[in-house]
Symmetry: D5
Subunit: 153 residues, 10 copies
């Protein structure tokens, strides 16, 4: 991964991961969390708990204080900002295209099933499955967010 | 739905749907397709087959030639363009936020599981489920796209 | 109000309000809701309930079916999009300036008091008070939103 | 806090704050000012008085001349510019969304209560309260600005 | 004036002004206000008082209720939005160029003379004088705004 | 002043000015020019004469060849580019707001008084006066530019 | 010419020109002006004199009052705004490309020959010549503008 | 020249030029080419021939291999990108303004004289002349490009 | 085709084509030109000859004068502007993605094979072939443009 | 090649290529792949196989571990982002102009020949041929991508 601007500590984390030939699946297992969530810590998109920082240091063999300095208790991520919008990378762009094309239909179905409100991106989980298929394997992404109804006052 | 710019025929379709109090679920059932797919026809984001046009006209009670004129065989959608980017509507914006925050992690997991390539937005299906939950119902969106590996030449 | 693009029905609502010399405070009282919330219905930024539509028609003397056609059960607002960003109107721009200048400080305080998460703009209320002051009256806006903590998974 | 571009001295201030495990509440108390105001000095969004600079140096244990060099009498902040617009961070974005959705309603109410003019973002105070609530704690932000009427000439 | 988007009533006001060969100086005199201020009413950038609406109707020979409908008591301008930014018209662009080139110097001088704060664009007057000069007449624009010091809290 | 990107020599000039507690008024007097003009040299927005470079070096106690290397005879400024547009700093933004709101009225008055043409931003002077006022001091900016009539050919 | 947004009167002028198979060279001769200047009146980019309006009406066979209403004495063009920037039309784009590539070299030569200042776009003439050449005819555009030196004050 | 981003070698070329007090006219003569073309090599906008690189090294007293490394046979310029668009520098901006205002008229005249096609910016020459004039010297820029007719197929 | 903004005559051409169930291949054959070129006339991207206009009118059964009025001798297209950039339609977007990803490699190969210059988009032909393939048919687009070497002067 | 932002390793690859006077054709032959594909590895736009990395190191005489560290198994390119959009370089811009002008015609022909779907930019090959021609050599670019039909569900 070269394109997203990474801090010195994040770069070190990715290098350690590459050298030890660890996948995010390996790392997620060691940290007892989902692999997408594990990856989001590497990209500075989640706040790891004390326990998670410690686990990360063990797996990646990085001295704990190095990670604590940047990702310690005082750290609250400034999320996003990794990509230009729309992103030029085709793997990322396809996600945007899905929203560009099917965003209004998805909004319409959500309103029909739940009423006026949104699908939370905070009380939210995402995961990726590989569905093997003789005609070509398929990527299955599941997005799972709490429905939040609009308040009146 | 007021915001997305709709053609005269699309507006008429939405009005007929509202008057007859039809949901996209009803319409999808009648058309023998997924409700998200059905909605995407209303928004001009999919090319309906001859059979689908006919079914639509029946359910909505619109003379067939009206729909054929705009959505007939000669019609190939110019997809997207319904929303500004990023969209201002919160329900739509959350989809973009999910990509802004979790896009790079999702890309990383796809590459780890499948190698260098993309998740297709063309050989693609999406659907929405309502997961009831005493702490607040949850929206579950499943995105299912073929993995396309990059070619060398 | 001339600048925000309004639909024919919204324009009619504003005209009726002007002719009858009603303030949003009057309308909110009649609808049993906050005046900011009442105004947000006029701007197409909230979904009125059946009861609220009826009340609006009474106060404004507009035939119910006119409002129902555009703001009935099938209607789910596409929110935002009323202003360019940043807005050129000075009253609106000052709100953006407050965020430009004090946004990061506010984010920092929220994290210190609540942890990693956001202040909801959905489970949210806003109101405006006039604080009389001999040195010049003051506008007091209170924003009240649920804290939503980020999930791990 | 990693995202907003900070000067060398600002970075040092945040590091000292993290090492000493000080909250902005602690710092505000020591400086005899509101915590939001205190944070805005760290982000370079306010001009500290001589006395405030001295207090800051004491609490953070930074030699006075280091701060004076960058934040001394000659210093007048170039405010804003910390975030892209709209910001990608969800905590910051929600503030913008509140304006996008409720900005015109707020403007309308201000005009109805005060007449033609603006709410000042200069003669202005903001503060954050935590409202405990069994259904989920709430963030209460109070914005308090002088009303400035438009002049005729 | 063709470029700025004008409402039907504003267009009518400009047409009446052209037919009667009135300058803004004439109109300002009749309305007992500065000519720049008078012009800003034509462009929808100021809220005319009841008296000013009446005077305008007399000078322009437009029935009062026509103006009242659009510029009556209920009317609060959404200011700005008349030009793209930067404007393409050379007369307008030069104003922006003055700020692009001399904006930071002006800010520096204001801070040196007044301290930390801004020059108000609300408690504000502008006027234009013609200074005759054998080497070419000169335009003298005077901008006069209250200094507003930043508050601490 | 931290925000505008300054070259190494410009930064040194501002530091010397701060250390010696010189105002632009002091510097302008020493250089026999207006303070706004003097400030514009510090920001790289004007080409100083040989004599002005020498004077600057004396007042700021910087070796002449340092300034000559960057601001010598070969130097012609690339003006502007110090701020994003619109600028986020409130003091700068108000200048833009004045043009956004009163730009078309000013253009109209210039045409009425001078005919078809522009107010030059090249054959141009600006200055700032402090008008003391018990209700709050006022900033008076005078912009003085040659009128340039459009040519026909 | 379809793309640039033209007013009703401008469209009529272009239609009359097409029907009568007049070139701008013909029109310029009749109006006793350069053909580029004549074209700029059709595009609303110049203010025609009374005499020029009359001549235009004769050549195009349009009743004088039609043109006077839109292009009369009260009319001062809002110049520019005919094209997006950069323009998509290749003939227009090449002009921008010339500036993109050779703009800084041209600026450098102007400064070397004239000193610090600009080439006026107001006291300005442009014309187009066809240079026949067996290897392919050449377009020769001559831009002729007064040099305006920057003032000190 | 400070604003355009220059490579280390380009900066060295400009410094050498300044130290030796060479104009682009001097350099063009030594290189046997037009001064605008010579300047475009300094800005990285043209590919110098082997011979031109050698001549440049002689005039500027830079070791040949230094220039060859960056501007040798392998070098093909990535043209443009020196300025933001529109440029903020007034000398550069006026060029853009000429196109904004007179671009469509110039396009119209080219089509009338040559038919459907463009004026090449590749098979292209530009030069600058100083026309002395008692009312103020004039800048004369001649743009000379091959006409390229659109192909049919 | 709904998305690209079409003039009244262009819309009529597309309707006639749909009613008569003509492909661009049919139309190209009748007009004795390539189908891509034929389509570009429908989209207002090429200037048809007198003969081509006549042929078009015959095939589409549109009275000649209707087409002549909009696409006659006086007509020179303002090309481009049919899509936003980047386009949201996936079929169009893929073209841009090819340039985003492979644009610099293509530029590098062109320079290596031809030297410093460009591939013309004016002296240019494009065509589309369908290559049948049991693993999925392939689209083959051939772009054929004259190489234009940069001039020195 | 100076403009596209290259990583340290990419810069080294380009330098080695220049020193050894290798063309991408030479490199492609040694790597047993197309020259455009070979160039796309240099620009970080393709993921080289282990074997390709080794071959590259041999040809360029770079120690294998240097390339492996940046382009090893863990590396998945973030594609695009090399150019601003639209690009300012004329060779690159012409590609975009081809799409701007002929994009909709190409889309129309693809739909007529293949139905509703896209031409893949992933299962995709591009190559460049030099067609010698006495009237000027021609660049022939062949784009070859799989047709992907839209799914229904």
């Amino acid at each position: 991964m070269t394109d997203p601007k990474l801090s010195a500590v994040q770069t070190r984390m990715f290098q350690a991961k590459a050298e030890r030939k660890l996948s995010f699946e390996d790392i997620g297992k060691a940290m007892e969390c989902n692999e997408v969530y594990a990856a989001s810590i590497f990209y500075g998109q989640a706040k790891p708990s004390k326990h998670e920082v410690q686990k990360l240091c063990e797996i990646l063999n990085i001295p704990t204080n190095h990670l604590v300095e940047e990702m310690g208790e005082h750290f609250y991520p400034s999320r996003g900002g990794l990509m230009s919008m729309p992103p030029t990378d085709p793997t990322l762009y396809r996600f945007i295209e899905m929203i560009q094309v099917f965003g209004y239909p998805l909004k319409a179905i959500i309103h029909e099933k739940f009423g006026d409100g949104i699908m939370s991106a905070i009380d939210f989980k995402a995961n990726v499955d590989k569905i093997e298929d003789p005609k070509g394997d398929r990527v299955k992404i599941t997005l799972d967010g709490k429905f939040l109804p609009y308040k009146k006052w």
